[in-house]
Point group: C2
Chain length 429, copies 2
């Protein structure tokens, strides 16, 4: 048995023990982690400085080095979010429904942890703290694999967290484990016997690689190809403001707009003005044939419609009606977040019904698709899956449910045959 | 592009159109199917008789031939369940939560269809009717592959269903499709681009094969290795009755007991009497060393603990405490349905918390784990997954949710920076 398999098996055993921890113990664990991060801040920062130094020596880009940095200010942010997580409602043990099946035979559906979560993340050491604390809050064991450029920081953080929680309660033993080598990613992805869910936090390439190489459910999304459709009924001033925000406010993120769709009846009014505003902000435009005649821009290729630029680049297409807009989005989009700007309520309703995306917006920016903005508290990730959890995912995405049935000697044979007892199926909750 | 890919692509397009169908239209479709089944009953029965004749000629077992039979009585059963499905609450369009993010910016989470469901089933032609109607009720497109021994019946049924729904509304075109050859199963399993969920209905072997060969989420379970643990605090008369029901009432099903665990303090009283009752009912017993000294039985091998007999065979093990029982179940069980018989409420609570199964029972038979008995209406299947849907799964397992955000020109840049607006995050529902 190799090291990863042993780790995974231990994580599974830990996950069974975690099932019995009360909310109080799980919250105490988060507080212990917060205290330990503060106590060991100097060691952590020192480890991080060594990582940063090596990264700079290796010629990593300034952006990557910046993301790698984990200083006293960042530690304080981690501590603050731990305290805010403590205050969040317990996701575990919620009774979702209760049904009396028959007199004295009562069925409950109750939320419980999923089990073992595998997390693969790149750079940003704070992700290690955030995701382990989310897993512990929800009673899950977690196996972590961070980027090699942050290995000293990750090791220091994992050590602090593991000590803090196992000192509090030995049932946390093996509940948080850090894998160290790159080869271990593939081994982790093969552990479908022990690992119940994989959460990738990183580039589209990472997510795509993971989805291709595992049978374990993966919570997340690769592409974020988001659209805004400006309907013929749109308030064009509003459309201008919403589209500008969706593209320019933070172009590097998954919920930024990549393609603008404009109804042909308003294209000639809207596109030239919108193009001017985008170009003043440094946005490179790529249009279909019609759009190119209305403003100065490059011609878009077929590939543009399915490209996530993550940058100040935008493709623009003129559509002849709402239906064409919906079809384009369902075909080329990534089912992430798509918006309509319209005053016609029926058009908006139809758009929101027929666009098959995890978030559909009316008269607002796609940039709102985010766990914090949606009021979910901490965000596990944004999912474009069609099962389990979809859209911005909070703690709830780390839970599942079990059924509890309490009887007093009830047997099925009493409910079968000629003189069968009848179920009452009385909804109690 | 091969035939299955074309079919899957068409099913995906259909699934987008189905998103806009009202509850009334979806229910009408079920009624049209019921009417068409009655109108074409003679053709269907004739096709089935040809299948049955061929199966008998090919020497299929009596049990299999019986399952294959689909006569006028069975058609009436299908029609009745269609009418009962019409009456069930609409699983689609339910607003699960509503939050005001800020004045005029309201977020809703609303249930919606998953998209395209692939169903692979063996024998029992009524499964075709049942599963297509569940998919249509929940607004999903469905691709069906039945067993070759029932191909005439399945083709007749699919034809009737397709005509009935497309005559009603052309948006149902390609929403129900039947695949015909065995090779097409593998092609279907590779269609993760178009197919969102696979539901296998058949043997453990079939389910295991499917889980091994697809990246599409699979709803279901392979093994059903269910346990009953008789605690030292148990009412032993109750334990006798519950265990007998769990093993004998219908041994061929997934929620029947396969292993009996007995606390050592009651073993000497309980096992001899229980063994006698089981043996009178023709149950073959296989015990651990201790159990073998208490009653006449074969010695169990290590393999027995992880075997689903699906038959009148039972393994028996003596445990020294609750913890050992829980560990045995989590290790050897299939996380399906497991019961404790106990008068000690704390022991029962601990068992139900720590046993990691989709259904945990106290003082009642594991045989209750079933969609109908749980009051879910129609059952899609029983899932031992740790994500999406778990335990007996009703219509809800064929749904997911999307977020709808309605604003009046709201943009994210107003909520960022020094004079950032604050979110209200006011829970409206």
């Amino acid at each position: 048995m190799d090291a990863v398999e042993t780790a995974a098996r231990n994580a599974k055993d830990a996950s069974y023990r975690l099932q019995s921890l009360t909310q109080a113990v799980r919250n105490e664990a988060l507080q212990e982690i917060a205290a330990a991060l503060q106590d060991h801040a100097d060691d952590i920062v020192k480890a991080n400085q060594a990582d940063v130094k090596e990264a700079e020596k290796a010629g990593l880009s300034k952006v990557l080095v910046k993301r790698l940095r984990y200083d006293h200010a960042k530690i304080k942010e981690s501590v603050d979010s731990l305290f805010s997580l403590v205050k969040q409602e317990d996701p575990i043990g919620k009774i979702v429904s209760r049904t009396e099946l028959d007199s004295g035979l009562v069925l409950e559906r109750v939320t419980c942890p999923i089990g073992v979560i595998g997390v693969i993340f790149e750079a940003r050491p704070e992700a290690l703290v955030q995701i382990s604390s989310l897993c512990l809050k929800s009673g899950n064991a977690v196996m972590l694999k961070g980027g090699s450029e942050a290995h000293r920081t990750n090791e220091a953080l994992a050590k602090v967290i593991v000590h803090a929680v196992t000192d509090l309660d030995e049932r946390f033993a093996s509940a948080v484990q850090l894998l160290s080598t790159r080869e271990e990613i593939n081994q982790l992805l093969a552990m479908d016997q022990f690992v119940d869910l994989i959460i990738p936090r990183g580039s589209n390439q990472l997510v795509r690689f993971i989805k291709e190489h595992t049978k374990i459910p993966v919570l997340g999304h690769a592409d974020g190809i988001c659209h805004t459709y400006v309907d013929e009924s749109a308030d064009l001033d509003m459309a201008m403001s919403v589209c500008f925000d969706a593209k320019v406010q933070y172009p590097a993120v998954c919920n930024a707009m990549e393609t603008l769709l404009v109804h042909e009846n308003v294209a000639l009014t809207f596109i030239p003005a919108m193009a001017e505003r985008f170009q003043q902000a440094g946005v490179e435009l790529r249009g279909d044939e019609g759009a190119c005649t209305m403003a100065e821009m490059k011609e878009a290729s077929e590939e543009d419609w399915s490209t996530e630029y993550n940058d100040l680049v935008l493709s623009i297409k003129i559509v002849s009606n709402l239906e064409e807009a919906v079809q384009h989005i369902n075909r080329y989009g990534s089912h992430h977040s798509d918006a309509i700007v319209a005053t016609d309520e029926r058009a908006a309703q139809r758009f929101m019904d027929e666009v098959d995306s995890s978030s559909v917006m009316w008269n607002c920016s796609t940039r709102f698709a985010d766990g914090f903005r949606y009021g979910l508290g901490a965000e596990v990730g944004i999912s474009t899956n069609k099962t389990h959890a979809r859209g911005p995912v909070g703690l709830e995405g780390l839970t599942i449910y079990k059924y509890r049935l309490r009887g007093s000697g009830h047997i099925v044979s009493d409910y079968v045959g000629e003189s069968a007892k009848q179920f009452t199926h009385r909804k109690l909750l």
